[in-house]
């Protein structure tokens, strides 16, 4: 078998194993809650009978291992349980339709795609921007432009997301009304309008993730510039831009792709704060709201999704860096 294929399979298996263990960690953490779900739903004034009834309904009278596998089996099939907050609401209304509303999967579904849309728009802006900036900084290294880009990216990466978000809102939405400061996105919205409302959060996230990618691109290219074949290309009389784009960049691609994937993974954390600032109806906002009202099934599910995406992107970074290594791609 091709060794690359084997390594990739190994990594995939390792990723699945990690995801499994992470789900155990999440489940265990949630089970450390004092009392249990039933008491949490009913509040302190609940009668023992009512608590027992709910426990039976939710399957809480079984032992934790059984419950874990039930939850996992459900999660794999896309059934993430019922939301407490919505369940309370549903029990007040008491109709079939509202019981359907209570399922976590129904709540997360549309929001998940909104978040993916935001992350996608961010990646489309940030990746070319960062790579071009990095190439330019490598081309004109130690110039005023390089120093300025370095300072700017360092500043933007070390500021909290909400600071960048409010600065952008201040200048692009309030003082110069060009973009909307609230991202109230709903399902049947045209792509243009949706893009316009997503642009400000996407720009904020771009500022957050650009720095690493730009610095890594610059460092990877500069590292290569000392090698003999670059010297040769220079002596042939090729222009500096061509030396970098044609000769240095392909060999610097592995670390660059790696850092891009890692930063997209970082987006997942950044998305939470940015969604809250812009009231963007994504999964991060749902997560924070659920944390505040202790809606455990939603918290659990969101956590699992975030961790899954994070593991997937880290895995992609791993596999990409293997694939971009020619020695592994063409075994002797």
């Amino acid at each position: 078998m091709n060794p690359v294929f084997k390594i990739i399979l190994q990594r995939l298996a390792l990723g699945l194993l990690t995801l499994f263990i992470v789900s155990v960690v999440i489940f265990t953490a949630v089970n450390m809650l004092p009392g249990d779900f039933a008491e949490a739903i009913l509040g302190q004034g609940a009668t023992p009978e009512a608590v027992a009834a709910i426990r039976r309904d939710l399957g809480l009278d079984q032992d934790p291992v059984t419950r874990y596998f039930q939850w996992l089996a459900g999660a794999v099939q896309g059934d993430l349980g019922n939301s407490f907050a919505q369940a309370n609401f549903a029990s007040f209304v008491g109709t079939e339709g509202s019981a359907n509303m209570a399922s976590v999967a129904n709540q997360i579904g549309p929001r998940f795609w909104n978040t993916m849309f935001l992350a996608g728009v961010t990646a489309l802006i940030a990746v070319p921007f960062a790579v071009i900036l990095g190439i330019l900084a490598a081309l004109y290294r130690n110039s005023a432009f390089d120093k300025f880009a370095n300072m700017f990216t360092l500043t933007s990466i070390s500021s909290p997301e909400f600071f960048l978000a409010y600065i952008l809102i201040l200048f692009l939405a309030v003082l110069n009304p060009m973009l909307p400061s609230l991202s109230n996105i709903y399902a049947d919205m045209g792509l243009g309008e949706r893009l316009e409302k997503t642009l400000l959060p996407a720009l904020t996230l771009t500022l957050v993730v650009t720095a690493h990618m730009m610095r890594m691109t610059r460092a990877a290219i500069i590292n290569l510039l000392a090698s003999p074949y670059i010297e040769m290309a220079r002596l042939k009389g090729i222009s500096p831009l061509r030396v970098i784009v044609k000769h240095a960049l392909p060999n610097a691609l592995a670390p660059i792709i790696n850092v891009i994937a890692l930063n997209l993974a970082y987006l997942i954390t950044g998305v939470v704060v940015v969604e809250v600032v812009f009231v963007y109806p994504g999964i991060g906002q749902l997560f924070v709201d659920s944390v505040k009202i202790r809606d455990i099934p939603v918290v659990q599910a969101c956590c699992l999704i975030f961790a899954g995406a994070y593991i997937l992107l880290n895995l992609t970074a791993d596999i990409m860096s293997i694939l971009s290594n020619p020695r592994l791609r063409h075994p002797k």
């Binding site: 990690t18 995801l19 263990i21 992470v22 960690v25 999440i26 953490a29 949630v30 450390m32 809650l33 004092p34 009392g35 949490a40 004109y140 130690n142 005023a144 432009f145 300072m151 360092l154 500043t155 990466i157 070390s158 500021s159 909290p160 997301e161 909400f162 600071f163 409010y166 600065i167 809102i169 201040l170 309030v174 003082l175 110069n176 060009m178 500069i222 222009s239 500096p240 831009l241 993974a265 997942i268 954390t269 939470v272 704060v273 809250v276 600032v277 997560f287 924070v288 944390v291 505040k292 202790r294 455990i296 918290v299 969101c302 956590c303 975030f306 961790a307 994070y310 593991i311 880290n314």
Partner: protein, 401 residues
């Protein structure tokens, strides 16, 4: 769309200007190599830089001269420019001071220091000073609601604009002095972040060195455990654990803050563990460790007297970066409403409470500046620490390119 057209036109004009600049340079200097060999892109860069500089100066001029309603648009721009110049000036003065005062080692250090690093050191000193003497510097208490003072007084201290001279930065939504809360925020936010980082380093560092020295199954167990914990994004994991902690703490807000310190310290100690273990593993194979083992030294001696002194430099740089991450995590948690709990003054919480005032920026810029002050206080410290760490890493790596 006309805005984009304007930008494109300006860029094209810059390109033409670059060509003209180069052409004029060649003609004026009679073909000096600097102009003759200049690529068009570099000439374009010079002209673009010049245009941006002119634009900034022009906007600043407008911000000083325009009448009242239009000037609001440039208020924050003016503050940013003036702040930048003042900070740069103070950083320069501070570096000058460092170059002429102190021992020969510190003098040498300051001579090689870029302006960004001296700015960072100056800011860290100021924050440390504020945090330590917050009780003496703040005009009011952090939870004190001054009797007879209105809530939501705008910053500026100008009575004509609705301000109050006794409250230069105004009051918040329940009438507490924002200046005092900002100063106390240095104590609470920075202090808690610092304690958390120290705890994370204590846990991660000692476990990492233990794993490196002892190896075997302990190393395997700890390393795999850390792998799993690092597979969950840290802010997400912190939020999950804070949900549980808030249930444990119940109505005791102080206890929740304590739990938060523990939770973030444990999550961040995984990153410290990785580094400590890697650094430790490189040191453990040295001959002097072998010699110490043969002398019959105990584990404590090995870790504290042999490994730790040799691992200080990378750990110190990591401490700065880790502090930034912890500080930003705590600020984010507070901003989301699950971090440091009121009534303690905290910058993240202040931003969240005052955020809606940003929407008034167009007609009352002073009002909008209140939330940005708190957010700016967070950003300034992390930027300062990052500048210093960047410089330290640059120095220690010997990277001169």
């Amino acid at each position: 769309m006309s805005l984009w057209m304007q930008i494109v036109v300006v860029l094209l004009l810059c390109l033409a200007g670059g060509w003209a600049f180069r052409f004029a340079g060649i003609k004026a200097t009679d073909g000096k190599p600097f102009y003759r060999d200049m690529p068009l892109s570099v000439a374009f860069g010079y002209v673009l830089g010049a245009v941006l500089l002119v634009w900034i100066v022009w906007s600043y001029y407008l911000s000083r001269t325009l009448p009242a309603p239009e000037v609001n648009k440039y208020f924050f721009f003016r503050i940013a420019i003036e702040g930048f110049i003042i900070f740069a000036l103070f950083a320069w003065l501070f570096r000058l001071l460092g170059r002429s005062v102190g021992t020969s080692t510190t003098k040498k250090l300051f001579r090689q220091m870029p302006l960004t690093a001296s700015f960072g050191i100056l800011m860290i000193l100021i924050y440390a000073f504020l945090a330590i003497f917050a009780g003496l510097l703040a005009p009011y208490g952090q939870e004190q609601i001054v009797p007879g003072v209105a809530a939501n007084i705008p910053p500026g201290g100008n009575p004509a604009m609705g301000g109050n001279r006794d409250f230069p930065l105004g009051t918040d939504q329940i009438g507490r002095d924002i200046l005092s809360r900002l100063i106390y925020g240095a104590q609470n936010t920075v202090g808690i972040a610092f304690a958390t980082t120290c705890l994370a380093f204590f846990i991660g560092g000692s476990l990492g060195f233990l794993a490196a020295t002892l190896g075997g199954w302990l190393d395997q167990v700890l390393s795999r455990g850390v792998d799993v914990l690092m597979a969950i994004p840290s802010l997400i994991f912190a939020l999950l654990l804070m949900t549980i902690a808030s249930a444990w703490a119940g109505s005791e807000k102080g206890l929740l803050t304590f739990y938060m310190v523990i939770i973030i310290a444990v999550i961040d100690s995984t990153r410290v563990f990785r580094l400590a273990r890697a650094v430790g593993a490189n040191i453990v194979v040295m001959d002097y460790i072998e010699a110490a083992k043969l002398r019959g030294e105990g584990l404590g001696y090995l870790i504290f007297k042999e490994i730790l002194p040799n691992a200080t430099a990378p750990l110190l740089a990591e401490f700065g970066l880790r502090f930034c991450f912890v500080f930003l995590t705590i600020a984010s948690l507070s901003f989301l409403g699950v971090g440091i709990q009121p009534p303690l003054a905290d910058w993240g919480t202040m931003v969240r409470d005052l955020a809606q005032f940003i929407n008034f920026a167009a007609f009352a810029p002073q009002v909008a500046s209140a939330p940005l002050l708190a957010a700016g206080a967070i950003a300034l410290l992390t930027v300062a620490v990052n500048f210093v760490v960047d410089w330290m890493l640059h120095r220690s790596s010997g990277l001169k390119e």
